[in-house]
Amino acid sequence: MSEPPLISPAHDAPPPAQSRRPWAAVLLDVSFWADWASVVGLAGLVVVFGITQPIFLSTANLQALLLAAAILVVIAIGQTFVVATSGIDLSLAATIMFGAIVLGCVYSAGWGILAACVLAIAVTSLVGFFNGVIITLGRIPDFVVTLGTLSAITGLGLILSGGEPTMVSSPFLLRLASGSFGPFGYPVWVAIVTAIVAHIALYHTRFGVHLLAVGGQVESARSLGIRTNRIKIAAYTISGFCAGIAAILLVARIGSAEPAINTSLLLNSVAAVVLGGVSLFGGRASILGPAVGALMLTALVNGLTLLSVSAFYQPLAVGIIVVLAALIMRYQR
């Protein structure tokens, strides 16, 4: 009963959390570390690797690092929209593979690279759309549906490609992979633009607020007239769209469309989202966090490689970091 009176002029409510606090208190607060896990982690890795292997901080290595992170950043952003609705998209990596194969097939059929890229993105968006429709209208748990999609489109990709990689030697994709504008390569710019657009969508549009509302309390959102199913379907479609962009970047990078799933890409997309402070229970998300989380995971692999640590240790390190991050997230406010 010691509740401060809500509506009487005299109130002795505790001071708002926004008021300035001494930095020492901030540093002792676990929720600070939870909110900034990816940034702190990235800074920590940069310092550690910078000291132990100075070449890590060379311009060439940093540029290579950013280039290598671009794909992961894009799909981590896609995954963020789904996780914000308290869902998960396990079909993401398979969708990338499928998009790449569609790109390869269309291009080798002589349709031109632009049509191939547009079709690849259209197909992956459609995969996401179907995920969303089946999850919402079929009322089936998200991981079951996307796991099914993972298997189905993997099979479809194998059928389409006959299990063989398709060479895609397009000058456009070659320039996309190797060209640069200013300090960054084109793939990095693609990731930056994706992040900016996603940030605006999440924080500055009605869709973004409704997305977080659906992820937070779906019943409340529905009773306020928000069309929750549409929002969820949109989130999965966005995830598919991002997979399409990633597919183009991937084909550009390796020069062919391979019918093989990069499983670590899926795990790392979820890992980046968790590191970025996005709640797996939905309702809470940012774009900068997962983007930095993706950078951090790539920096980890890059640094360990520079330190000549066996590649076998990398999944171990990623796993430990992700579980630690998830533990810290429990203290978020």
């Binding site: 009963m1 509740e3 401060p4 009176p5 809500l6 509506i7 009487s8 002029p9 109130h11 409510a13 505790p14 001071p15 708002p16 959390a17 926004q18 605006i200 924080y203 500055h204 549009t205 009605r206 973004g208 607020v209 409704h210 977080l212 509302a213 992820g215 937070g216 309390q217 019943e219 409340s220 959102a221 009773s223 306020l224 007239g225 928000i226 709640s279 309702g283 809470r284 406010r333």
Partner: protein, 255 residues
């Protein structure tokens, strides 16, 4: 005492129903209910658990579809087929679960699904400063103390949450605010705060329907009290002319 005002077509009445019945499968929620709420008054509906209060209210605001009978809102017959239409027509419901989103801020919750936006060419972006400012005004109009409108709702107390939910309902410029058990889960002090809030709505001539089974609260707050018992509307009394004992008798059927 048990007579029902017959003026269903009077412009005095904001919402009413006639001969309304509703069953779920074979289970009768209520039958042949007449009800009317006057403009600018606090109208209470009381009754025991399972008397049909909440279901009646849900039929009035379009959440459930009644089986027979008629609903009138603002002079229109059969106004709503879903809660969204009711909301657009000016009926705001403070749900028993408050319908707040814990992870969003106070301001975001106050403007949820009617955000203030600005157009930039093809883009429609949120006007966040305007929403924060108006959220502040909405809260101060009802004299609700809130540390900050950018605070997450998760960190608020039960009474504060109730206040936000009521504030959102009123802030939309609602013609009618429907509250289902607004103090059911609150402590003594917080209940007093919410009651003061309802009184303030009354002063500002907002029409309110209050569902409750707290007889004292209903007598303190409302102008007209309707009593339901076992799916029937059994009485309608002026709050000033009744006593707690009379209400107990009406609700339990001991009269």
């Amino acid at each position: 005492m048990t007579e029902v005002p017959s003026a269903f077509d009077s412009s005095d009445i904001i919402i009413s129903c006639k001969d309304l019945s509703k069953s779920f499968g074979g289970i009768r929620a209520f039958s042949d209910v007449d009800f009317a709420a006057r403009r600018g008054e606090v109208t209470a509906v009381i009754g025991d658990n399972g008397a049909g209060k909440s279901t009646l209210i849900r039929c009035l605001v379009g959440v459930h579809r009644h089986d027979s009978g008629q609903v009138f809102f603002d002079g229109r017959a059969e106004p709503f087929t879903n809660p969204d239409e009711a909301r657009r027509a000016g009926i705001e419901t403070v749900h028993q679960n408050l319908a707040l989103i814990d992870e969003l801020t106070v301001a975001q919750n106050l403007f949820l699904n009617r955000e203030i936006v600005r157009r930039f060419g093809p883009l429609t972006l949120l006007d966040r400063p305007a929403m924060k400012k108006q959220a502040q005004q909405m809260l101060s109009r009802l004299s609700i103390n809130m540390p900050s409108v950018t605070q997450r709702v998760r960190r608020l107390s039960g009474g504060q949450r109730q206040a936000i939910s009521i504030c959102r309902a009123v802030g939309a410029g609602a013609k009618l605010v429907v509250m289902d058990e607004p103090t059911a889960a609150l402590g003594v002090q917080e209940t007093a705060n919410v009651e003061a809030l309802i009184r303030r709505l009354h002063e500002q001539a907002v029409s309110v329907i209050l569902v409750s089974h707290n007889f004292d609260q209903v007598r303190r707050l409302s102008d007209q009290i309707w009593v339901m018992r076992a799916g029937r509307m059994v009485a309608s009394v002026r709050a000033r002319q009744t006593t707690g004992n009379e209400l107990v008798a009406l609700v339990t059927g001991a009269a």
